[in-house]
Amino acid sequence: MRDEPMLPEAFSDLEPFAASWCLSDANARYEQRLASSMTALQAFYDAVGARADAILRHLATRDPQAMDDADRNLLWLMGSFSTVGFAVDVFKQPEVPDTGGASMPWTTTPWP
């Protein structure tokens, strides 16, 4: 357990996933997908999926340029959720199939 919570109070049930998935860098979010087992991806997907509606409603009230740290972490957690989506619900594996390890890293992404 971390002393400092990373996420807003209302979403503290997702705190166990925060350290791995609240990643500010979009490339890090994708690398975390590639580095995770399908069991870990599924657990993350299921836990966030169950709360996704509430999280998105919360973030819809927040200005991206004026977010506090907890909301930003929540935003990045949802970015990770989108990033793992295809691996879990379509590919059933972390990598895109039949690509021979092709990669397209981000060189420009918005803040946050």
Binding site: D63, P64, L74, G85, F91
Partner: protein, 443 residues
């Protein structure tokens, strides 16, 4: 037993597809003025052809190098590295707000002028003057020499001779282009043709939220452009993108048909219904519903007003997107949902290229819009990686195949058109060189 190959007509499953009207000529291929015969693909793997192509195609065309948003202020600059042409370009917004391009090399002893850390890497920033890291010469934003260190030791320096060599540079719709000829054969707007030019009404300038990714693809630059020029591959390469749990429609491999193709000189485009086309295809996923976003873009984009007169030049009734393939290597995809995508394919060698994918949105007003956009770019990238894989495989296989007759259908008319234009330009260049008595050598 007699073989009965299926090479004509539809299978029962394929009858679910949406079929569109053909042009008066009978086919898109004939309407484009192209032959319907099988094609050679030597132009993607012959090193001799590539040497000529660099000169005949890239050195003679207007080349897109970046958006004006990358030059927000006077003194803003970025570099563009085109090593296959032996060019490093420096693009600058001057004090007079004009955008200029220079060869990125110091006039003193020729060292690279603007770079940081790694000379092969592109860089960007903002400054009042460019200072050479070697002996400290400085140049102003108009490319003129501003300062020579220990000047009395030189012999009769003439400032006029010390300016940075200029590269022709023009801007259309916020897209910055360069032309490497000493005297371009046409202006940028002439090059674009009137129909492409009209696309400038699209509110590109409102869409400043940029997501850019890139990779080195082990395939000829044209091979990847081909992957966007036809949707014939979609049910196969991207079949795994379809949601297996979505409601069954009774036809798995429904072909995606493009309703409208058009050509403008060497440029070409197609329009399609986007999210409203091909209703039989199962592609919606649970996360798309949550994020209200998909491959086609965020579903509830901020209102940007009219998308301009230039879109949908074929006047489709159910319009969703335009894919404008501008010669030679620059594609703009404009979406009915109010965003756009840019693809750049820069040759490295005959069988590899640098692929840059940029996606632009209206800046999000809240965290939810921000995530809708991220969900779109994530989805696009999954598709692109699948195309990436099939392009690399094709390159390898074609270059090893004794066959050199390949078969293009009418839905692949844009593939045929691109290769046709490139081969035609190379042949013309070869003839010109022969007439000048320089036959056989690539320069």
């Amino acid at each position: 037993m007699q073989k009965r190959p299926h090479v004509q007509g539809y299978t029962p499953g394929e009858r679910a597809l949406d079929v569109f009207e053909k042009p008066e000529a009978g086919s898109w291929t004939e309407a484009f003025g192209l032959p319907t015969t099988p094609v050679s693909l030597r132009d993607i793997h012959d090193p001799g052809f590539f040497e000529l192509e660099k000169e005949a195609v890239f050195r003679r065309s207007w080349l897109y190098v970046g958006r004006v948003e990358r030059l927000p202020r006077r003194g803003s600059y970025f570099t563009k590295e085109l090593p296959f042409l032996g060019v490093s370009a420096l693009i600058v917004r001057g004090l007079d707000d004009h955008i200029r391009a220079f060869h990125n090399a110091c006039s003193h002893r020729g060292n690279k002028l603007v770079w940081s850390d790694d000379p092969d890497r592109e860089t960007a920033g903002s400054c009042r003057q460019f200072a050479c890291k070697y002996h400290g010469w400085r140049f102003d934003l108009e490319g003129d020499v501003a300062y020579v260190h220990n000047a009395p030791e030189f012999f009769d320096l003439d400032p006029a001779e010390l300016a940075l060599p200029r590269i022709h540079c023009e801007v259309w719709a916020g897209f910055v282009f360069i032309n490497l000829l000493d005297e371009p054969r046409e202006t940028l707007r002439e090059f674009l043709t009137p129909t492409v030019e009209r696309l400038e009404d699209f509110p590109f300038e409102r869409m400043t939220e940029a997501w850019v990714c890139e990779g080195v693809v082990k395939a000829n630059w044209k091979v990847f452009i081909d992957a966007y020029q036809e949707l014939y591959h979609v049910p196969y390469v991207h079949s795994k993108m379809n949601d297996p749990k979505a409601q069954a429609t009774g036809s798995d491999k429904v072909p995606f048909m493009v309703p409208r193709f058009l050509r403008f000189g060497r440029h070409r485009m197609y329009s399609s219904g986007g999210p409203t086309a091909n209703s039989e295809v199962r592609s919606s996923r649970p996360l798309d519903a949550l994020f209200r976003s998909s491959l086609y873009g965020p579903i509830d984009p901020p209102d940007v007003g009219p998308l301009g007169e230039g879109i949908n030049p074929g006047r489709l009734e159910r319009w969703g997107l335009d894919n404008w393939m501008l010669y030679p290597n620059f594609t703009i995809q404009v979406w009915g949902l109010g965003w756009y995508t840019v693809y750049e394919h820069w040759p490295i060698d005959v069988d590899s290229h640098r692929f840059i994918l940029s996606m632009y949105f209206v800046p999000p007003r809240n965290g939810f819009e921000r995530l809708s956009q991220e969900h779109t770019v994530n989805t696009v990238r999954e598709f692109v990686l699948q195309d990436y894989g099939s392009c690399q495989t094709l390159q390898q296989a074609v270059s090893r195949n004794p066959r050199d007759r390949y078969f293009l259908n009418d839905q692949e008319v844009l593939v045929r058109h691109l290769h046709h234009c490139v081969v035609e330009d190379v042949e013309r260049y070869r003839r010109e060189r022969a007439q000048e008595g320089g036959a056989g050598d690539a320069r």
